[in-house]
C-alpha cells in the first residue's frame, strides 16, 4: 500500500529510556551456550547493554513521564493535542485503551481522539502514516504519536534468541501540519500468513494464561521459554527482512524521485547490528549512513527503536539542520514499511530517563 502526504512535518521527538541498564554479560549464565560462543554472538550481533524497566513499570508510565516533561518545559500544550496515538504491543490492560489511561492521567481535554494501535517494529512507520492521515482533517492540527513498549516483561531470560536484544522505551513524536511544501512518500506491506514468526502465544483470548502456559519448555536450540513468553523465529525474521526490505527501499526511493546517495541518513528499526549491516550492503549504501548502534546501547525497543535512533544519533543537530531521510521498520505481523521524508528544525529531539 502506497501513501503520499503533503504539508506535514515532525516537529519534535522525545525518547524516554528506563534508568536500569543490563549488560550482555549479565545474562550469559542463563543461556544454554558456552561463554565463548556467547561472546562471539555479542560481537557479531552488536549486543552490549540495554535498558529495561523494573517490575511493575508499564508502557504508559514511560509515556506519562515523557509527556509531563514536555508539558513542564512548555514544549507542548495540553489543549493543542487533537489526536493521541498510542502504538504498542504491551498495553496496560486489554481494556480500556492505554491511550485513554494516558489521557486521564494527564488531564487532557475531552475534545480529542485517543487510539491504541497494536503494532511493533514497524509501529513508527504505521503511526506516522496514521498521524499524517488525521492531519488531512481540517480541525486536526497536532497529533501526538507515542510508541512505547515494555516487552522485557514477556521475554524469558533463558531465551538467547530474544533476551540479549530486548529493550524497553517510549518515544513521543509531535506531528503537525506545515505551510512549507513538503512531500512524504511511504509504502507498507503485510504478510499475516507468517503472523506466528513473532508471537506471544498465550495470554489473550485464544490461549488464556494458566499454570500450564507458564511451564518452561526447552526448544530444539536449547532455549527455555513458556507459552506466556515472546517467541521469535530468528532465522525466519532475518530471511524475511533481507528479502523484502531492500526492494521496498528501492521502490519508495523511486517513488520519491530520490537517488540512494541523496539520502543523508537511513534511519531503520534496529533488531541487531548484523541485520543492519547486511541491509546496508544489499541496498548499496554506506554502513555509516545507516546507524546500527541502538541495540548495543539500549536494546531493541520495538516501535520506539526508530525514534530512539533519531534522538540518539541526530540529537540537537536536528534542531538546527534538516536532512533527507529514509525510515524503515519491519517485524511483527509480518509488517514492513518505509518512508522518505525531510527531518529537521525540530523544536526538541532528546532522550530522558525514567
Amino acid at each position: 500500500m502506497d501513501f503520499r502526504f503533503k504539508n506535514k512535518k515532525i516537529s519534535g521527538i522525545l525518547t524516554v529510556l528506563p534508568k536500569r541498564e543490563v549488560l550482555f554479560e549479565d545474562g550469559i549464565e542463563h543461556y544454554n551456550f558456552s561463554k565463548a560462543k556467547s561472546m562471539k554472538l555479542k560481537k557479531s550481533m552488536g549486543y552490549n547493554k540495554r535498558r529495561i524497566v523494573e517490575n511493575g513499570v508499564c508502557a504508559s508510565d514511560l509515556a506519562i513521564h515523557g509527556m509531563n516533561y514536555l508539558l513542564e518545559n512548555s514544549l507542548i500544550k495540553k489543549d493543542e493535542i487533537d489526536i493521541l496515538l498510542f502504538v504498542s504491543q504491551s498495553p496496560d490492560h486489554f481494556m480500556p485503551p492505554t491511550s485513554n489511561i494516558i489521557h486521564g492521567k494527564l488531564g487532557l481535554r475531552q475534545d480529542i481522539l485517543c487510539i491504541d494501535i497494536n503494532q511493533g517494529c514497524a509501529g513508527f512507520i504505521v503511526g506516522l502514516q496514521q498521524a499524517f492521515m488525521f492531519l488531512d482533517q481540517e480541525k486536526v492540527n497536532k497529533v501526538l504519536l507515542i510508541n512505547a513498549d515494555v516487552l522485557s516483561h514477556k521475554v524469558s531470560i533463558r531465551d538467547r534468541n530474544i533476551n540479549p536484544l530486548t529493550g524497553d522505551a517510549a518515544s513521543i513524536t509531535l506531528v503537525e501540519k506545515t505551510a512549507v511544501d513538503t512531500e512524504i512518500f511511504s509504502s507498507i506491506k503485510m504478510d499475516g500468513r507468517n503472523a506466528n514468526v513473532l508471537q506471544i502465544p498465550a495470554g489473550g483470548f485464544r490461549i488464556p494464561s494458566t499454570g500450564e502456559t507458564s511451564v518452561m519448555v526447552e526448544d530444539a536450540n536449547g532455549n527455555f521459554r513458556s507459552l506466556d513468553n515472546l517467541v521469535m523465529q530468528g532465522d525466519m525474521v532475518l530471511n524475511f527482512v533481507q528479502k523484502e526490505v531492500p526492494p521496498m527501499i528501492d521502490y519508495v526511493l523511486e517513488r520519491a524521485h530520490t537517488g540512494k546517495a541523496d539520502i543523508d541518513y537511513y534511519l531503520f528499526h534496529q533488531p541487531n547490528r548484523f541485520m543492519l549491516h547486511k541491509l546496508a550492503d544489499k541496498i548499496g549504501v554506506d554502513r555509516e549512513k545507516m546507524p546500527s548502534n541502538i541495540v548495543e546501547n539500549f536494546g531493541n525497543a520495538s516501535g520506539a527503536s526508530i525514534p530512539t535512533n533519531i534522538s540518539y544519533n541526530l540529537g540537537e543537530t536536528l534542531e538546527k539542520n534538516s536532512y533527507k531521510t529514509c525510515l524503515a521498520g519491519f517485524g511483527v505481523g509480518l509488517t514492513w514499511g518505509a518512508m522518505v521524508m525531510e527531518l529537521g528544525y525540530f523544536d526538541f529531539n532528546k532522550i530522558i530517563e525514567y
Partner: protein, 84 residues
C-alpha cells in the same frame, strides 16, 4: 568417509569452522546442520568471519542452512560472491 581438503579456499573455510568449533572434526561430517555442528547463531558468526576474511558481504538472504551444510556449500557461496 574422511574428505581430503586440497583447495586453499576450502582450507581457509575449514580453519574458520574449526576456530568456531574446535571440538568438532569437520572433515568427518557430511552435513554440518543435520549433525548439529552448526546452528543459526553459528551461521551468523560464520558469515561475519567469512565477510572479514574474504573481503565480501554475503547476502542476508543467503544466510540459510542449505548454504552451510558442508565446506563445499560454503565455498560455493563464496564463489557466488566472486571469491576465487
Amino acid at each position: 568417509m574422511k574428505k581430503i581438503i586440497v583447495n586453499n579456499m576450502e582450507n581457509k573455510v575449514l580453519k574458520i569452522l574449526t576456530d568456531i568449533h574446535p571440538e568438532f572434526d569437520f572433515n568427518q561430517v557430511a552435513n554440518f546442520i543435520e549433525e548439529g555442528l552448526i546452528d543459526s547463531f553459528d551461521m551468523v558468526n560464520l558469515v561475519t568471519t567469512l565477510d572479514e576474511e574474504f573481503g565480501v558481504s554475503i547476502d542476508g538472504v543467503d544466510v540459510i542452512p542449505d548454504n552451510f551444510i558442508s565446506v563445499d556449500a560454503i565455498v560455493l557461496l563464496l564463489k557466488k560472491k566472486g571469491v576465487k
